[in-house]
Amino acid sequence: MNIIRAEQIRFQYDGEEHPESAVVLDGIDLTVPKGQFVALLGHNGCGKSTLAKHFNALLLPLGGRVYIKDIPTDDEDKRYDVRSTVGMVLQNPDNQLVSTIVEEDVAFGPENLGVAPDEIRKRVDDALRAVGMYEYRDHAAHKLSGGQKQRVAIAGVLAMQPECIVLDEPTAMLDPRGRREVMETICRLNREQGITIVLITHYMEEAVLADRVVVMDDGKIVLDGTPRTVFSQVDTLRQNELDVPQPTELCHLLRRAGVAVPEDVLTVDECVDVLSALLL
């Protein structure tokens, strides 16, 4: 079953503010099946954040349609069904927490949905446990570290019991430790609770963790496949101003220098295996 189905969507912002890059999305077709972990890549201004905002009806396409579990996002009566099915986590953890206290912030979503008080309590506790922040439930949100705040933000979305979470560069403002915490949380939610993940990121080592990588450029999808197939196309990625994971790059350079190594090396461990096999 597909959680997200985008059909030929086109979008552009109103002329005045963005005169040069008029068309942001230029006929995007994308379906995301339930339980998949998709990484969405692209250089700045390629339209990936705009695309993400179409997945929970923050923006409506000017052409084409987006369906969330067969509900069209332009159906105003079902807007809150769409938004509770596809939760969204933004880049800056400070600017998405509404309440001062952790558990009260997590309760914000279900409160808006009109869930009964006892049920909210249960959902909040479950969500906080799922992101490993249960011990911090009565702490002040502003005193947490960036990674912890971002996990609270994820819990806030989880408490609405979504089937899909869209994360728009959730690790961009975090230190390496916070980034690891958030990535582990995302992977665990995908694996253990079967929540569909759409992760927008600049970090290739995060994209490697996904089931599928989608690369966008200039409002279009240019590459779509498993991390292995996408990252082996080093030159295409370079043309789109994107990096490749460091092990992949190393092997790419070695190949160019005439060393017989495979193209689709993704992780450090694989790289070590390949190189030690060559040297021994």
Partner: protein, 270 residues
Amino acid sequence: MLADITFGQFFPGNSVIHRLDPRIKLILTFAYILLIFLPDNWVGLAAAVVFLGISVMLSRIPLKPVLKGLKPVIPLLIFTSLINMFYVDGTPLFSFWIVTVTREGVFTALFISVRILSLIAAGSLLTYTTSPTTLTDALERVLSPLKLLHISVHEIAMMMTIALRFIPTLIEETDKIMAAQKARGADLESGNVLQRVRALIPILVPLFISSFRRAYELATAMECRCYHGGDGRTRMKQLHLCGRDYVALGCMAAFVALLIVSNIYVPAMI
């Protein structure tokens, strides 16, 4: 520097005061703030201070930050005290040059100081022991009759929640901007008042711009979480009055009675 501001902060805890119904706390605090202006004799004033003191002790909040929170009021206290000492007519105590200090003046100054301190301490006690969300929740419920007058109580309460939530964030940001401007040679600490105020402009401008950006992002985040005003919204924390709330009300009633009796029977000092 700015991190020292404790007013409006919340110290999580589990004391009797923390567990009082926030509506009761809110009403009692407002009653206290009004009543502190009632006593005109030392018995009533002492009773007010003791009443507050006991409440603070019961709340078991750390005293140090609380006292620190009172510090910014001291200049105001000194100013009002001096004005009162010199301008209230009555029996002169002593005089020099053109000013005369009167007995009544000294008492008025003392009373006003104690009143201002108690008022701020009472207000602080409310915010120290009540989480901002609970507080605004209580405010929303206490003020809900105003809905009949078409006042959007929920929206006001939500604005307060967000304001309280962003105070620490913006203070932190101000500190950062100040450090950044100082690193570029901005002089914030010398010069006369006018120069200092002007030196604040390069701090306030970026602060405002970033606040608007934050507001925009927060609005997006709230929309993502299905916020659509107060209609159809439920609350995780339900409020029920219980034994201790009635005891608190009883204590307040006794306090009011004491104030009235002392005002009638003890000779007024101001």
